[in-house]
């Protein structure tokens, strides 16, 4: 009999509380599901259990004895294996080398490749018929599509023959046949008295497989149910926090009317996207929602011409095939990227240089630096950027102010279409509110905005319309009148068929 309990685990990351009271119990022969909205602390809790990160407070008990792991390898030795959300494979090695890394069968000093491959074949057979024929022990991992890489990850955890197995979003990139296979394997593991912790955003999967369900909200375990005795609707309302003050002033109960279509996307495909259709009207604020990593960034990057895509993107009724971001910029499109340190800013250069970077061509040859500086001052003042002066390096600014610089550098170009890729991540509340006011003003002035955010509340508070994405498709379009936090989360976590069922 195995039993794992986590009690009141607390974890802070750089001042942000990821977990304030993470509780969980799992017994052998049982599947426990862990549910929660984006950023509720599910992954952090798993990482603490497997020794990837160390908890700040709280207790972890294995068979009622306190344990603490400082590395994943230690957790493995105690029989706890995890399939992580971010893949942890070595792309340049073969499937078998990856699965048995550090546990290779040896013959003296030599690795026995033959038995290595035999053992791998046995594991690969678990997923037989659900993978392509090229999925053999000697295939290099970097030649595999994402779903098969995920399967390697699962097999790697299986190969350690764990007593407790954690599947963190392991089904997110699998197709339905592969999920079915995984579930029948989980059933087998249950009979072998293994304990399984299963994390998924998909309500239907959780109800299919889980015996118990724990709900996390804002780093706190807020519910512990028997799966048979709980309703989907109750879980969702538990995941959505009602007590939290609404920062966004939702004055948009009035549905605004739009006429002119500015951007029209038809049948957009990329490696992540599987046929996206939508249009944006002049002055409209269109939100993109959904769980993280459902292809939202791909939509924005396709429109901006920074990734390859197939399909039709029309601007003012004219089809555009952008091959480079400069072409999109010439059409007055701007993209505020998600990771500001990596894609948005030159951290060591000054505020002035950062604001001016996309706009230098406006100032001619020879450069009218004086005029450029004046314009930058106007932008900086209108955004209320708090800084020593324009020559201060961006690295000296706070997160919120740095983000203002990113927005400022694109506003400088007076875009007609503004693409926002999760712009308020790690930004303080005050700045967020200023930012919301700015978006409203821009829309009033006729700018069309495509706004992806991982913060569901701000989408609900701001947008005229929200597209909820899932698995590279638009799952649901929510007009202003139907837009509430629970309708948005419901659409994010349930698949099409269930949606009608859950909303009735």
């Amino acid at each position: 009999m195995q039993n794992l309990t986590s009690r009141d685990i607390v974890k802070h990351f750089a001042g942000v509380t990821a977990l304030s009271s993470g509780c969980l119990t799992v017994n052998s022969g049982e599947v426990v599901a862990l549910m929660g909205a984006n950023g509720s602390g599910k992954s952090t809790l798993c990482k603490i259990i497997t020794g990837v990160v160390a908890p700040d407070e709280g207790q972890l008990l294995l068979n009622n004895t306190p344990i603490s792991f400082s590395t994943p390898v230690e957790a493995l030795k105690s029989g706890i294996a995890a399939v992580y959300q971010e893949l942890s494979l070595v792309p340049s090695l073969t499937i078998s080398q990856n699965i048995w890394l550090t546990r290779e069968p040896m013959n003296g000093i030599f690795i026995k490749y033959r038995s290595l491959n035999q053992r791998t074949q046995e594991l690969v057979d678990l997923f037989a018929d659900t993978v392509r024929p090229s999925f053999t022990p000697e295939t290099l991992v970097n030649e595999l599509p994402p779903d098969e890489q995920q399967i390697v990850e699962i097999l790697k955890a299986v190969s350690t023959n764990p007593r407790i197995m954690i599947l963190d979003e392991a089904t997110s990139s699998l197709d339905s046949r592969q999920v079915d296979r995984l579930f029948s394997l989980i059933g087998e593991w249950k009979r072998q008295d293994k304990a399984i912790i299963f994390i998924s955003h998909r309500m239907s999967e959780v109800f299919r497989i889980a015996d118990r369900i724990f709900v996390l909200r804002n780093g706190r375990t807020v519910g512990d149910f028997e799966a048979k005795k709980v309703k989907e609707r109750d879980l969702i309302s538990l995941m959505v926090e009602d007590a939290k003050e609404h920062l966004v002033k939702a004055d948009a109960t009035v549905t605004r009317q739009f006429n002119e279509t500015v951007l029209k996307v038809t049948n957009l495909h990329t490696s992540r996207l599987q046929g996206i259709d939508f249009d944006v009207k002049k002055g409209e604020l269109l939100g993109i929602a959904g769980l993280q990593g459902q292809g939202q960034s791909d939509v924005l990057h396709s429109v901006f011409g920074s990734i390859k895509f197939s399909g039709k993107i029309e601007i003012d009724g004219i089809e555009n095939k952008f091959r480079h971001t400069s072409q999109a910029m010439a059409k007055d499109i701007a993209l505020v990227p998600g990771d500001r340190a990596k894609e948005g800013l030159l951290m060591r250069l000054s505020v002035l240089e950062n604001i001016m970077l996309p706009s230098w061509m406006k100032y001619g040859f020879p450069l009218k630096t004086g005029k450029a500086k004046n314009d930058a001052v106007i932008t900086a003042n209108s955004l209320k950027i708090v800084m020593a002066d324009l020559n201060a390096p961006v690295s000296s600014l706070s997160g919120g102010n740095a983000q203002k610089v990113v927005i400022g550098k694109w506003l400088q170009r007076k875009p007609r279409i503004l693409l926002l890729n999760d712009p308020t991540k790690g930004v303080d509340v005050g700045t967020k509110n200023e930012f919301y006011d700015l978006l409203k003003e821009l829309c009033k002035a006729g700018t069309s905005i495509l706004f992806y955010s991982s913060d569901d509340e701000e989408l609900v508070g701001l947008c005229d319309r929200v597209l909820v994405m899932r698995d590279g498709k638009i799952q649901k379009e929510l007009p202003r009148t139907e837009l509430t936090l629970s309708s948005l989360i419901t659409a994010s976590v349930t698949s099409g068929e269930e949606f009608t069922h859950a909303a009735d």
Binding site: V52, T71, P72, V73, L76, L87, S88, L89, V90, P91, S92, L93, Q97, L101, T102, E104, M106, I109, F110, I111, Y113, L140
Partner: protein, 329 residues
């Protein structure tokens, strides 16, 4: 088609060998009449024997560099480390130049190589200073010590040893060839050990390897020590040919070793490649320089011409890929 592509991707040494055959045949044709009036095979062997001994130090350095690069690091001190060991090797025979003395000296020399490698390894893996910076800095440490031991070109080696190395032809093949063949064999053994396999894992994805339980720090440390050991052998190969040394000799060979590795199909990104390709990379590099030397090119233009040829050779796989991509789309 897919299979052919897979083969070339896995066997990175195939393209370098093709390139090598092309280059050596060109050289042979150009130099044919200069190789004496003897039979065809004898002339060919003469060409090989003459050149391989000269190439051997760089071949060994390229092997060391390849191992370090596969592991996801780089060693910019390897040439100067060889220079340091070489300087030590040629300054030890003032009174006694017996074989016993030579063996004593050589064991100490190996110790110097391994120690210097460990010195690099400590900074790279334990202190975590980027290897590019670390080994660039230590390269000056090594060349500084070399100049202190051997302030100007000179020194000497026991006659017996150098003569033996130059004139022995076991089974009719020059020593250089035997050494190359045995290093290839050693490599085959090495890469099928757990250590060898983990070298690729660490170079391919350090974080994933660590999460799987590979002790990355220890591993990278050992790889740098092995590189130092091989550099000591390279130093021996060098002084056995010249009989003396120059403290500055290693400087240019560091970058040559990197070029040869890349020319040999082992990229600088880590996690892929091997050492067989780089061995042929060095020989290709050497024969290209020979050809340019024989082609009546003005001495001043020679570096330019051989640099251009090397650039074309380096770029050709990528060019071919680009062209194929254009054709397909």
């Amino acid at each position: 088609m897919q299979q052919i592509k897979g083969f070339f991707r896995k066997k990175t040494f195939v393209f370098p060998i093709i390139l090598f055959i092309l280059v050596i045949l060109t050289n042979f044709a150009l130099q044919y009449t200069n190789l004496g009036p003897e039979k065809f095979e004898k002339r060919f062997m003469f060409l090989l024997d003459n050149n391989i001994r000269g190439f051997l130090p760089l071949i060994l350095l390229a092997i060391a560099q390849a191992i370090v690069l596969i592991n996801g690091s780089i060693d910019l001190s390897i040439g100067n480390l060889m220079g340091l060991v070489a300087a030590f090797l040629v300054t030890q025979y003032a009174l006694d130049d017996s074989i016993a003395r030579f063996l004593q000296v050589f064991i100490v020399a190996i110790g110097i190589g391994v120690l210097a490698g460990a010195f690099n390894g400590i900074f790279v893996s334990l202190v975590r200073i980027p290897p590019f910076i670390t080994t660039y800095a230590t390269s000056f440490v090594f060349s500084g010590i070399a100049m202190w031991i051997l302030p100007r070109p000179g020194g000497n080696m026991p006659e017996v040893i150098t003569t033996f190395y130059r004139t022995t032809l076991p089974l009719g093949l020059p020593m250089g060839i035997w050494i190359i063949l045995s290093t290839m064999l050693l490599w085959l053994v090495f890469r099928n050990t757990r250590f060898g396999a983990h070298m690729y894992a660490v170079g391919g994805n350090e974080k994933a390897s660590f999460a799987s339980g590979v002790s990355v720090i220890r591993h990278r440390m050992l790889v740098h020590m092995i590189a130092g050991l091989i550099a000591a052998f390279a130093a021996l190969a060098l002084v056995l040919v010249t009989g003396s040394s120059d403290p500055r000799i290693g400087g240019t060979m560091t970058l040559d070793s990197v070029v040869a590795v890349v020319l040999g199909g082992t990229p600088m990104i880590g996690g892929i490649g091997g050492v067989v390709g780089p061995i042929f990379g060095v020989m290709t590099l050497g024969f290209v320089r020979n050809i340019v030397g024989f082609a009546n090119v003005d001495t001043w233009v020679q570096p330019l011409v051989d640099a251009l040829i090397i650039l074309v050779a380096l770029a050709s796989p990528s060019f071919i890929r680009l062209i194929l991509k254009q054709v397909r789309s």
